[in-house]
Symmetry: C2
């Protein structure tokens, strides 16, 4: 049987005591002393509630040797806490599992503290959990690489030769990473010209989602110093869901030779709750065998993925309920999180706490598990049937929902959702 | 005759009263009250001195309507000031030109304030002038695009078809942008395999500089809202020199299909003094005529470059003096700064104050004006003679110096220098 909290946690909740994901929120029900909105602060999710860690910290309940007297939970972001490393994360998890358990009276028996620290999720606004210094996006699903290569460059050798030797990635735009629930305005730009005509200009005709997850970096590294692949897990705090919204016509026209730019930088949505690697440990599974053997700096003694079922749902304008579009799994990644991180730093590139490392689109091998509309509709050639309408790409008013939930024996470790609604282009 | 300051400014100085570039520094001669290093603060360069703007501000000498009571010069970075926009920049420039002039006694006649606010350049440490939220690198010299295309992809159609329609760019790594004078550690990584052998792994054998300049973004834009090309100049505070260090073997192997990544992200050096567009105005010149005509969102009513002569010098280990390697000019750019910025935001991508927009390597048409060793030695096929030694790429111990100076009738508007020394790889 799962751990039991004094907070009611329904059987299908994503957030039981085994999970305890971290986020940053602002209460919506109360204003600050001067009437301004209350300051952002860290919290953990438990059932339908958020535990305010600034209150718990101010009450002196983080009493372990590392967190006692630390201001890490009195910050407007999680950067300081995630930068403290695994010993601090372990200590916080133990303290919080004890404080929230049905057995311990410290919090459950203190009515005033309990009421002050436990807020209903419906009464908070979630914010970006960290200040993202840099955002990197990998390209680590072989099925996605193969499908995109076939669509863009043809069926002969669709996967570039370098792909099997290194986890390919590009730098993304940090400023346009937004929190789940933020509307996405359809971008304008130049699209591929047809025949001899000049390039198309206007709002994108091929707006897509990309089903990804992303690692939040913990302790960073100094410029010039690499991180060993077998120590890389200690530099990863946890995971979020990520929708790397993409304008396929803009991307196809601009990406040679320097890679994706405006086809991506109009918005990237992440889910608010960072699920820690500690909470995901029971869902670890073998990662795919790699052939050819990776170079020594990428050869890891523990080559694992996580079994995280992923779903994408779309709710078109005027409809009440979303419909499921695809089902994939995090374990489809060919290159692991730790290989990604080791590769990222092999040249001495410095990571900083709170940085975001996207996995790339997570497509599975079957057509029903592809991670974006480009693949699902084969670049619009095979429209999907979406509630009776043929659909090639996203339309204005569409709401896209990602969700992920690891199923334990009698509990879940879930990610909540990552959502965004498409608004019309600004003329 | 130029403007005259009470501070002695030699005839060949880069920093007369006409320039007044902004930077962030820390005095090296004094410690803080508790013995800690003094806090970073904004300054402007005048001759061989730095004027401490935090002291000028605290003394109430910024007395114009915008800057009076503003804390913008009491910050550890210039982000707040550059975000205030052109009216604030104009006001600051007028105030500083008056305070530093030979005629005004306010500062020149106040010995204690003068001594407190004017520090010798030799007694300060320069720091990054802004917190760089995102760093973007363009690819805007046609000569560079043509040379690289010929080297990497052959002489038929070396310039990609999209190049003449849009200012191509990629997102760079913000964390590894460093200030002039920072050593650069030779990066390790995977290089292109020869024949059927596996990819090379080790320290780069093709370390290069790239001669660039970079714009510092002033006021930003909201996510979703584009900036009109005819208003783009108001979003550019000024320019710095930039060395986009590149590992050509790593870059050549990794860049298909998502662009440059580890071949660049081990270090990017910028010069400390931001020369404002106001100071550069006398050096404005026509930008190249564009064919085909740019799309309307890139068609600007004022299509200008600046006449900024650029030089690269190298001092190999064991030598006392650097030798000149190439001479180029900022006016070789095909796409202007304003077109770059308008393109960057056409999809709604949000820029933030202090962001860095690199121009890409600025190569001229002649072999003596190419902006990197890849071009100058034609990928190592035509070694340079560097003080009697044949040279293909950078070697450990090399110091690379960039400098730039606009020549007025009887004054300069210069950029100082952008330097870095290559250290051996860490095994």
């Amino acid at each position: 049987m799962g751990l039991r909290s004094f907070v009611e946690v329904s059987r299908d909740s994503h957030f039981p005591l085994e999970n305890l994901p971290y986020g940053v929120f602002r209460p919506t029900s109360t204003a600050g002393g001067d009437g301004s909105p209350p300051a952002p602060r860290p919290g953990v999710a438990i059932g339908d509630f958020v535990l305010d860690l600034s209150v718990i910290s101010a009450a002196g309940l983080f009493d372990g040797p590392i967190l006692k007297d630390s201001p890490c939970f009195l910050q407007p972001s999680l950067n300081m806490f995630v930068g403290m490393g695994r010993p601090a994360w372990k200590e916080a998890r133990l303290t919080l599992q004890r404080l929230l358990s049905a057995e311990d009276p410290t919090l459950s028996g203190n009515t005033s503290l309990r009421e002050k620290s436990l807020l209903k999720m419906s009464e908070v606004e979630m914010l970006l959990p960290t200040v993202i210094g840099d955002y990197t996006d990998f390209f680590s699903s072989m099925h996605h690489a193969k499908n995109c290569g076939t669509i863009f460059r043809g069926p002969e050798n669709p996967i570039p030769v370098n792909w099997f030797h290194l986890p390919i990635a590009y730098h993304g735009r940090a400023s346009s990473v937004v929190i789940s629930g933020t509307d996405i305005i359809r971008p304008r730009g130049q699209g591929y010209p047809t025949g001899k005509s000049p390039p198309y200009f206007g709002s994108t005709q091929k707006l897509d989602f990309e089903l990804e997850m992303a690692a939040i970096v913990g302790p960073g590294n100094e410029l010039g110093k690499s991180i060993n692949v077998d120590e890389a897990a200690d530099h990863i705090f946890g995971l979020v869901l990520m929708n790397d919204w993409s304008a396929r016509d803009i991307q196809a026209w601009e990406y040679v030779p320097l890679g994706p730019f405006l086809g991506k930088s109009f918005g990237t949505t992440i889910s608010p709750w960072i699920v820690t690697l500690d909470a995901l440990e029971p869902f670890a599974c073998d990662a795919p065998k790699q052939d050819p053997q990776p170079l020594p700096y990428l050869a890891e003694s523990k080559h694992i993925n996580y079994d995280i079922p992923l779903e994408v749902w779309i709710k078109p304008a005027g409809h009440e309920h979303p419909v499921i579009i695809t089902r994939s799994n995090f374990n489809n990644l060919y290159w692991t999180l730790t290989q990604q991180l080791a590769h990222h730093t092999i040249n001495g590139c410095n990571l900083r706490p709170g940085d975001l490392l996207g996995t790339g689109t997570i497509s599975g091998p079957e057509a029903e598990s592809f991670g974006c509309l480009l693949e699902l509709t084969w670049n619009g050639q095979k429209p999907l049937n979406l509630i009776g309408a043929a659909r090639k790409f996203l339309e204005d008013g569409d709401e896209v929902f990602f969700t992920a939930c690891c199923k334990g024996k009698d509990y879940n470790v879930g990610f909540g959702s990552c959502t965004g609604k498409v608004l019309p282009a600004i003329p």
